[in-house]
């Protein structure tokens, strides 16, 4: 294996816009909001950036093509701006570009910014769009909930779990994220809900009801990265460094090959194992202090616990119901509300996850700060659908951990 990225790059500053239905804000405004916070946190000026990466999931519906929209919105110094898109995993992709540029020495300081303006479509949920000419002839134009809902029956059949028990565990996932989101001033959805509300909500795509689905939001998030040496030279002392950045991309096996039963994410397992190896993590359950995972739907979060090896196979339902992933549990998951309640501005989500992990590691998460001095945090950012997707995993932690 390659030598990896561990501790070669530090996060100099991060920013995140308030997520939600930002009717008053263009994508430019959202980017500026996140960027100004990050600049101040980093203690640098725009002229010190050597390069930038911009992530957006639905460019045709908001900012349009190319890296130009970020350069113009932020009035960058005519530096290189690369636009990246990898479905809902785009945000982590932007960070990967910036981190690799710094690690290679091609850039001293680089910016990763993700943005999405989803609430200009006129309807709820993610926009319908083409997936290419071949897909449009032979694929299923289903909704995101419809695609992810299929995990539930497959998982249930594999592990012999009753419909009611699984639905209750899924509901717990959502109730927990609403509790967490209520404590987060930047979150889209800040209302606590009870389990009955989840269980009785209208069905969107069986068995996913309304509260099994995450918010579809406007928002932006960004990170400024540099080397640990430059960070120290700029006066930073407590450094959060990148421990691992791994991506696994479906090659069609799940959909076209033999053996996948639809109950888990093949790519997440691969990306997790690679990331743990890169970061030197041998016992993820013991070593990871907190997680932000891609909880686009409650069932996604639930099965991901097993794919990330923090629940034993078939144990995720019990672990969820035991509160293992609650804010005060052994490994809090979505302590900021997650996609479910912080919201899901597609191109920004991967960076939003890392933003929360960064704040928690530095003890700057305010009311929702985890009190056990977290040292290592994981984010899991997934794009596509269970049978064909991009799984991105980022591990960040305190320097020296």
């Amino acid at each position: 294996m390659a030598r990896g990225i561990k501790d070669k790059v530090a996060i100099l500053g991060m920013g995140c816009a308030r997520f939600g239905e930002r009717w008053e804000a263009d994508a430019d405004t959202l980017m500026v909001e996140a960027y100004e916070e990050a600049l101040e946190d980093a203690g640098i000026e725009t002229g010190q950036l050597d390069a930038a990466w911009l992530s957006v999931g639905f460019d045709a519906l908001n900012i349009g093509p190319s890296g130009i929209p970020a350069s113009m919105a932020l009035r960058l110094d005519n530096v290189a701006v690369t636009k990246v898109e990898n479905y809902c995993a785009s945000g982590t992709e932007a960070l990967r570009g910036a981190v690799y540029a710094v690690a290679s020495g091609a850039a001293d300081i680089a910016l990763a910014i993700g943005v999405e303006k989803l609430k200009d479509t006129g309807y709820g949920g993610l926009p319908v769009r083409t997936r290419g000419t071949t897909f449009d002839m032979i694929g299923v134009v289903g909704s995101a909930p419809g695609n992810f809902a299929q995990l539930a029956e497959a998982y249930r059949n594999r592990h012999g779990i009753s419909r009611d028990e699984l639905k209750r565990a899924m509901a717990h996932v959502s109730v927990k994220s609403h509790d967490n989101g209520a404590m987060n001033p930047k979150a889209h959805l800040r209302k606590r809900i009870d389990i009955d509300t989840v269980l009785q909500a209208p069905m969107v795509a069986a068995p996913l009801g309304l509260y099994d689905c995450c918010g579809v939001s406007d928002g932006a998030a960004c990170a400024i990265v540099t080397t640990p040496e430059i960070a120290r030279r700029l006066g930073k002392t407590d450094l959060v460094t990148v421990k691992a950045l791994q991506l696994a991309v479906s090659n069609g096996w799940e959909l076209q090959g033999q053996g996948w039963d639809g109950s888990y994410f093949h790519t997440t397992r691969l990306a997790a194992d690679r990331a743990y190896k890169e970061a030197g993590v041998s016992k993820p359950e013991a070593q990871i202090d907190l997680m932000e995972v891609h909880d686009c739907f409650s069932i996604t979060e639930l099965v991901t616990m097993e794919d990330l090896r923090v629940s034993e196979p078939g144990r995720a339902v019990a672990d969820v119901l035991d509160g293992k992933f609650d804010a005060d549990g052994a490994i809090p998951c979505q302590i900021d509300g997650g996609l479910k309640c912080f919201g899901h501005p597609v191109g920004a989500s991967g960076l939003r996850m890392i933003y929360e992990n960064y704040l928690q590691l530095l003890g700057r998460a305010g009311e929702r700060q985890r009190q056990d001095n977290p040292k290592l945090a994981l984010s899991h950012n997934l794009g596509g659908m269970p049978n064909q997707n991009v799984a991105a995993i980022a591990l960040v932690g305190l320097e020296g951990v």
Binding site: V141, G146, A206
Partner: protein
Amino acid sequence: MTSILASGAYIPRLRLQRSAIAAAHGWFAPGLRGLGKGERAFGSWDEDAVTMAVEAARNCLEDCDRDGIDSVVLASATLPFAERQNAAILKEALTLRDDVFAVDCGGGQRAGLSALVQALRGGTAGQTLCIASERPLALPASEDEMHQGDAAAAFLLGDGPGVAEVLATHAVTFDFVDRFRESDRDHGYAWESRWVREEAFGRIVPDAVGATLAKAGLPAGEVTHFIMPSPLRGAQALVCRKTGIPAEAACDTFAATVGDAGGAHALLMLSHALETAAEGDIILAAGFGSGCDVLILRRTGGTSRPRLAVSDWLERRAVSDNYMKFLVFNDRIAIEKGMRAEFDQKQPMTALWRNRKAVLGLVGGRCTRTGAVQFPKSDISVNPNAHAVGTQEDYKLAERRATIVTFTADRLTYTLDPPGCYGMVEFDGGGRMYAEFCDVEADTLEVGQPMRMMFRVKSFDEMRGFRRYFWKAAPAG
């Protein structure tokens, strides 16, 4: 002489109760109440004369070698395309040989029987697949709306004793306009039925039937199965009286169960007669419309029985009293479909041409190194084969059974028949696909459920007047 080697049929699963039509229009057209008995078959939103023809043909060809087919004749007055040969779509769906002769023919109420007679008389070498399929439209509150039904039937013709041999054929042609429909109209216009009864079924048809019996040298009393579609009550009995055909020979017209499938109806009835007739029985089929075609057949000893015979299709039914659904599925009413329906369905024709085997024929690939089956075919196999390029050979999946691996019932995605049911299916013998489901009840879906593939409309491009076709999974059986 050319004989009938096999036959098959298709009747859509949905059956609208005519009482629901009568109830909807009772305030305006109380006269319809008298017609409000029984049920009529209607296709789902994703069925048309082409998809129904494909189903009938697949059923007919169940045990047959498709490579023996040299000609395809598709008869219908309700084909979806005026330009773009409809029979060519069918040829691709059935994965027939490329060097096949194919033709669409229309012409009205006797189109199906005319095409069959022509094919039987043609005496070409090799086999002919002759199909009639209709999805007629009518104005709401019209008698046509009550009488009509959707159905298709297919016949494989060729040398050999088969299931029926031709004894005689005969035709008369007149510009007798009992009903008409201009090419760009979607519903017909009918003249007074009393005149049609007397002039057509009292004179034109009996004369033609008599002439055909004379040609065959058969006394009318020997006819055991008399096929003559007409929505006019008593028309069959009238012709029997006039010609001497025994009244008990008159076959079920399916007026109470299917409705009148226009140009396809005589062939639907003929398929049923072949199912029920004994060896030696005499079948006389008369098709009226701008004249009359008559065909006399003798049932021979062949035992070809389709997977589902007409009687099975009659059983495979989903009763509906939802008249609004009938209107929506037939595009008779504009409804608010929501913004998700605005997704542009423009079809790049170049891509369709390149991918026609996969899209229209559901042809996948099998790796010649590993034997693994996949859909769609690809340059590099999905299952590891040392990364060899170009090792896949064509592998047909359409006739293979499949089982559900994953599924959902999606109430967010746009479909005219919510919830949108879809999921992953795996074929017997390998290969899987992410497929839309059709003809399903959402709450009965299960992992492991057996399915069979059906050729359906995938989507409509309303802006440009095009429709995509693809295969969907339906419950097996």
